[in-house]
Subunit: 317 residues, 2 copies
């Protein structure tokens, strides 16, 4: 592979879409952005993505599209086998969107589609802290909770391309009601919404706590984490409980695929020891005794701004 | 591959060890048995296995060991990568037993070791109801609960050969105490012991039920199933609860590896609709909505007497 190879990484989120030109050393040379939420029509959305890719190539002097190894796309409900987005609930264009064929038709560059958490896992292995590893599990902790499982160096896609939806494993049967229709999904405990809810439940027991004086709609995991680092007991207990729950989910993931490390990415994962310490303690307590190897719980080493683009770009390798 | 190829399948259980000569059509030509529990010494145990293999070959006129494609062994805590049994709690010989090298040294036939549930999953794919499938999850429901996960036609072993210990995923945090040290493992709800315990808990609420008149130590899943088929309400409720719990575990397995079918094997799985109906109902209720394909819950199609030997024998293919 020549040093002159590039790829395009596209991260489609409910609010923004980031499109980046990446070299094979894992450096985002330049990136453009779209407001996903402003698009009601998938074809118009794709057309604008194509225009931005053409701009990226033009302004970086890439005249030969053969230098682009491929276009990797991480998207909610991204389906690897079909190259589609399948009924993503946080996008305005519903149904099955044939993203791969729509883009390939216009650009004649091979396109790979997968969900954003799979892209994060793969990016971690190609460019991040999992370099050289072949068996990892990635949990992305943000608005929701996503999962990406790598087995023997390959993403686990399963029979239909939709394996690894770890945010929707049921952690607490009959627990908190989830958007997906089930109750007790991990996402309801370890996402932004989950952590905020845990804190609010605690504040009902401790209405004199400083956090209870904030406007109800201002409370978020970042503010709670800051308060925890300043010694606020409700905030500390919020993250302790979150870590306890998350640790069980990580231990359960080990019984499935026995990874050599588990990675955490996304905004929640960047909150440091206030989350990581109780998570690791719970993980060690709940990990089945037969797994004698140390299985470290690591935070993604990809720069948060670039991680999603890099993850998507890695898919073409 | 010639029709004259054979393999040896060995199923090591806590009580019995079964050793069978299998042809490549999946027919157990002849089998011998050892009482595992009578052996304190691993070397003596292996020596007797070797003698029985030699007898199998001799009495079936197989003079050339090249006709034997390999020896597959399913064992508790069988470690595929190392070819060992690692600290099996239900065997008298503790520590790490290098089964593969001990047998290969004497017979010069390649040996493959894995755990019994992995062997069951693989056997199902090669000889049973999963023929032609490439992505399945197998749950073995017996004294304990085991798991075997097949991804793209291969057993999922993970980083250390110990993936798929699905009996020890934590189903109910802080639930029933498990032998493994954790609480709430699936095994405590869907095994022989788990079902019996569920029934006993119900009988404390309904002390006039017919099953409460049985000697306490006579109650087992078979008797409870028979009672359920005769309309005993506590017995029916026992299996309804078991199915409800098991269905959640199966739905969670789908979020991991998105199989095309889930198989149930072992004594508990042979109890028919009294278990299967509530299991399927709970599975459909708890399966994440994005998995739109029908994922059937099937009972192993391997004859129960031969299943373990066939599963082990399949490993060499």
């Amino acid at each position: 592979m020549s040093i002159l190879n590039f790829s395009i990484g596209i991260d489609i989120g409910g609010t923004n879409t980031d499109i980046g030109l990446v070299n094979q050393l894992g450096y985002v040379i330049e990136s453009y952005h779209l407001k996903t939420a402003e698009y009601n029509d998938a074809q118009k959305f794709v057309n604008d993505i194509v225009i931005l890719i053409q701009k990226l190539l033009y302004f970086n002097g890439i005249k030969d599209t053969h230098l682009i190894k491929g276009i990797g796309i991480g998207a909610p409900c991204g389906n690897y086998y079909d190259g589609t987005i399948d009924d993503a609930q946080n996008l305005k264009f519903r149904g099955k969107i044939p993203l791969k064929s729509m883009i390939e038709e216009q650009l004649h560059i091979p396109v790979v589609v997968t969900n954003d958490a799979n892209a994060a896992a793969y990016g971690e292995m190609i460019y991040g802290g999992a370099k050289g590893m072949k068996n990892i599990v990635m949990f992305t902790l943000g608005t929701g909770v996503g999962g990406g499982i790598i087995v023997d160096g390959k993403l686990l896609y399963g029979s239909d391309g939709l394996a690894g939806e770890l945010g929707h494993t049921i952690l607490i049967p009959n627990g908190r009601k989830c958007n997906c229709g089930n109750s007790g999904c991990l996402e309801m405990y370890a996402s932004m919404r989950g952590i905020t809810q845990t804190c609010k439940e605690l504040l009902e027991q401790f209405p004199d706590n400083d956090l209870a004086k904030l406007p109800f709609n201002k409370l978020d995991p970042k503010i709670i984490a800051d308060a925890a680092y300043q010694g606020n007991e409700v905030a500390i207990e919020t993250y302790r409980k979150t870590g306890e729950w998350l640790g069980i989910a990580l231990a359960n993931a080990v019984t499935f695929s026995s990874p050599q490390a588990i990675f955490l990415a996304g905004g929640i994962a960047s909150n440091g020891d206030i989350l990581l310490k109780p998570t690791r303690e719970s993980f060690e307590k709940h990990k089945l005794f037969i797994y004698k190897n140390n299985i470290p719980i690591l935070v993604s080493q990809l720069n948060e701004n670039d991680a999603a683009i890099l993850g998507a770009a890695a898919l073409v390798f």
